[in-house]
Assembly symmetry: C2
Homo-oligomer: 378 residues x 2
């Protein structure tokens, strides 16, 4: 475990700006960001001043204390009890805040991550057990810290993406008529894990034939037929960082519509990549994509959300398909974004996607790992 | 896709008993239960009367309509729009309810699953966009339908558990000093997928040495040393049904404390298994476990939650470590329960678990798949 004091200090300054007494961490990615480790059921409090407070089950106290070393850190013995006492803990911590900064008797504003990993019933329970706490999204603190990536983070994303590339190589060589999505997924998963992936941040997508239309994806026992579109999306994680590599293949010779979809998509990526500069919004990127599709007569198939942030979480700010307000977030230099998040699909026919990771620079998106677009197989 | 009309009819009767206008399905397991298929981002409404309403993205309409065949089913074109209009849809559906059963102008009571798979921000959004809907847990409907298993469900759970057994065989043969948890996990994952698993419902647990204390588990690069306790928990899914097989191994000769923990755990399982009869509560099972541990002088290490329901979801009712109120739920014949959910751990030393699936019968728990307890390796 490596407690990142610099990140904690920056987060605390932001919490104070936001009037938060602290943030409650219950997610893998925030925990890893501050403490350098992936813990199952991560639970910690970072108050606006002072040291973090770790929370763990009784059986795990000895192991956690050993990992924490000499740090002056409180360890609680029971999560249920602790959940019920979060407001009390924050109030006690706040008593030690420097004079004039104590929140007093008003409701305590506590930040928490509110994305896919935070279950509704836990939040409902938290609110019920802590009626004097106002729970707010921790994004104003964490986004500021996490959106722009440090060099070492970019290297880890590049490494994750290169592992995805090995998986895609394996998938491509297996693409022959008769093989099932599940058979491909089994071999690709094995390749990813052997190459050092810690698992994947989403299930593999191996979307075959008409199911290449899917926005999301899955794996099943349907077999590939000659002429099928196959969309493959791989999301291995490496030291907590998430890859996102999608490719579309045609098994055999593409027909005119397949060819058109691929060409339009690649043109959309190219234009979006050029625009991936500081100051640009993802809303602007979507409009660029729409213009390209309109040129090809495909505007009616346009979907919003061509690009999203990525890092320790598979989708992070800006991620406009999850948080619509992100459409106006301005890109900054050294953010890492995907391009190719949305499917370009003709309902009932099929769809295509090609997705890569890019660093935002004043010269446009700089690709992190340049995996070939080589979509005709066999 | 196979729409199970019988289950829908039973669910509708229960909804009417509960005064619900319908349930909103947003989870893999409920969707699979009613419609026989795993869909990514499953979205459907089952009203208290009439046919289900499916919701899907525009790009997926063609594919979904083909899968649904001749069914008279409405397909919506936009999820965001639909989320915003759920109450309108329910109100419209309710207008067609038989006379006297319309909920009129009062708040519409809509059921939704509220477990780990339902994110807080979606529920918050739902509540904001549908202020005239009272969102309630759908458990009173779904539990009634899903707790007691049909024969074909028990066969699928047995099959899932047998796949876990193949994974455990593979893990056991790899257990030698020097191998890492990650190396074992890579090979075991490959074995599970090759044997037909659709993935796992939790990450693999390969908890080594002092980390065998963990309540939950993970995989990392730490290597096994002679004398280590290793707790392995495998949760492959087969046709949507979840396995749960845990074993503890000692690499080399166990010391006295390791031996004591294992013996006490096995005795706890044996006593719990005998008591796994209709009418018994999981609270009672926990008390039985505590008595056994007290006899061995290990009472202080007792944790609640020795047993939980399992089926299409990894933990389903009763699951008292998630939903404390379940402690009083009475078992019924042909429910399937795990025994061995909790760790028996001495903090800072290590822990043990052995977990299997059992059918509840008047003669006690009937094991679904009898995998050996053979804990000394090498």
């Amino acid at each position: 475990m490596e407690i990142n004091q610099q990140r904690i200090k920056k987060a605390q300054a932001l919490m104070r700006d936001q009037g938060m007494v602290g943030i409650m961490i219950m997610n893998r990615d925030d925990y890893r960001f501050f403490f350098g480790e992936t813990r199952v059921q991560p639970r910690a409090i970072i108050p606006a001043f002072g040291d973090p407070v770790f929370i763990c089950f009784k059986a795990e106290v000895g192991e956690l204390r050993a990992a924490l070393g000499d740090q002056q850190i409180k360890v609680f013995s029971h999560v249920g009890e602790q959940m019920a006492n979060v407001s009390k803990t924050f109030r006690k911590l706040a008593e030690e805040f420097p004079e004039g900064l104590s929140p007093g008797k008003s409701p305590l504003k506590v930040g928490m991550q509110m994305w896919f990993g935070t279950p509704a019933f836990l939040v409902d329970l938290f609110r019920k057990l802590n009626p004097d706490v106002e729970l707010v999204p921790s994004d104003p603190v964490l986004d500021e810290l996490r959106m722009v990536k440090q060099e070492q983070e970019i290297e880890l994303l590049r490494k994750a993406q290169s592992i995805a590339g090995l998986g895609m190589d394996r998938a491509r060589e297996l693409l022959v008529p008769g093989i099932t999505g599940r058979e491909i997924a089994t071999e690709v998963t094995y390749t990813l894990l052997k190459a050092g992936a810690e698992g994947t941040s989403t299930p593999l997508h191996i979307n075959i034939g008409v199911r290449s239309c899917w926005i999301h994806g899955k794996v099943d026992d349907s077999a590939i037929r000659e002429g099928d579109l196959v969309v493959i999306d791989l999301t291995p994680m490496y030291r907590g960082y998430c890859a996102n590599l999608a490719r579309t293949f045609v098994v055999g010779q593409p027909d005119g519509r397949q060819q058109l979809l691929v060409e339009a998509y690649l043109e959309m990526i190219s234009a979006t990549r050029e625009a991936l500069q500081p100051g640009v919004t993802v809303g602007r990127l979507d409009r660029i994509g729409r213009e390209i599709l309109a040129k090809h007569g495909l505007e009616e198939y346009h979907l919003k959300g061509i690009s999203h942030g990525i890092g320790l979480r598979f989708e992070e700010t800006p991620a406009s398909t999850i948080m619509p307000a992100h459409i106006t977030v301005k890109l900054r230099e050294n953010m890492v974004m995907t391009i190719g998040h949305t499917i370009l699909a003709i309902p009932g026919f099929g769809g295509v996607r090609f997705e890569n990771l890019y660093r935002v620079t004043p010269e446009g998106g700089q690709i992190l790992f340049d995996y070939p677009v080589d979509f005709i197989v066999g």
